[in-house]
């Protein structure tokens, strides 16, 4: 009886593994250097290196004895570009959110820090575009939201946030700053300050900062001025 159960269970796992293998074996069109990636995006090498550090441009590495080489999948670059071009460029954010990191993150701490930043940028892109679906990939399906918005308490599924974001519409001038990124091995808390929200929604909060602690541990968010979104987010960067 128990061996039947076990074989049924392992059968399920094997078939999932097969699916993964097929995905991996799909031939991909790759770009094989910073030069090729830069040419593909019609930007300088310096710019695309910065985009990798600060905006999550998906670049992969092969380890060699002397020096690692980089490569990128065209379909991943395309997907990243689609997400990005939905967001109007915000130069001031571009400048301050990324310290000039010409070299790829080699240190384990930096790699985690950058992965978290990328996840948060997915949230920011969705908020700016007014498209809840854009930010969905940044959230764990079971993520929750808690907080007050104009005196009304919001609690429950993260779906509420996606709906609110879409109903709110584009907020092209939001100015997010990372007040804190605290990493403890497999968990992290991010405190994001977001100013210059705008809205089609009845909720109007021009110039009001939103205080958004995002963590995978507790659902917490509090009102800083008139409105707040607190999101619980067990970030799922693609590396995990």
């Amino acid at each position: 009886m128990s061996s039947q159960l076990m074989s049924a269970a392992s059968g399920g796992i094997v078939s999932r593994g097969d699916f993964g293998m097929r995905l991996q074996n799909t031939p991909q069109k790759t770009l094989e250097s910073w030069k090729q990636i830069a040419a593909y995006l019609e930007r300088s090498e310096r710019t695309v290196r910065r985009w990798e550090a600060s905006e999550g441009l998906p670049v992969h590495r092969r380890e060699h004895e002397k020096q690692d080489t980089v490569f990128a999948y065209k379909h991943e670059i395309e997907a990243w570009n689609r997400l990005r071009t939905k967001c109007p460029p915000d130069l001031s954010i571009d400048e301050v959110e990324s310290l000039p990191t010409v070299k790829p993150a080699t240190n384990a701490y930096l790699a985690e820090h950058d992965a978290i930043t990328r996840t948060m940028h997915c949230y920011i892109a969705g908020a700016r575009a007014g498209d809840g679906e854009l930010m969905r990939p940044a959230f764990h399906p079971s993520a929750t939201i808690s907080g007050y918005c104009q005196g009304v308490e919001y609690n429950g599924s993260i779906e509420h946030v996606f709906q609110w974001i879409t109903a709110n519409g584009p907020a092209p001038n939001i100015s997010p700053r990372f007040a804190r990124i605290e990493i403890i091995e497999t968990i992290a808390v991010v405190h994001l300050e977001v100013q210059r929200w705008s809205a089609n929604w009845p909720v109007r909060m021009p110039g009001r900062p939103t205080y958004s602690p995002c963590s995978n541990a507790t659902a917490s968010g509090r009102l800083r001025t008139s409105c707040s979104i607190g999101t619980t987010n067990s970030g799922r960067p693609s590396e995990y």
């Binding site: 001031s92 301050v96 310290l99 000039p100 990191t101 070299k103 993150a105 080699t106 240190n107 701490y109 930096l110 820090h113 950058d114 100015s175 700053r177 990372f178 007040a179 804190r180 990124i181 605290e182 405190h191 300050e193 100013q195 210059r196 021009p206 110039g207 900062p209």
Partner: protein, 127 residues
Amino acid sequence: MTNEYLTDYDAIVKTMQMYIDGSRQGKSGLMRPAFHPDASFFGYAGEQPATGTKFLFDWIDKNGPAPKIEARIVSVDILDSIAVVRLEVAGWSGNLAGLGVRMSDLFTLLKMPDGWKIIQKAFHWHA
């Protein structure tokens, strides 16, 4: 519309950038303007306590370029005229640092008429 938070945040990042640039190029002159003249500096260099910004500036100059430095701002906590910044710097190299060393820094800053100035730096050297 109040953008005081953004203005302060960005000014603080700018000050930190001077510190990072000086560290990367091994030129204390680049980071000196980021420090208040009376700034303090504390930490352990190996077993030895290291104190005073003179120690820091001399060390930076003697260490020379550390081109592979990568810095990340972990937190920026602003309280009106003062702020605390935590910085993680990996990939240190140079004459004194050795190779691939990581440093964690805590900075306290004061808002001055001519910008945010570092008034204190404490560091931990990850041996």
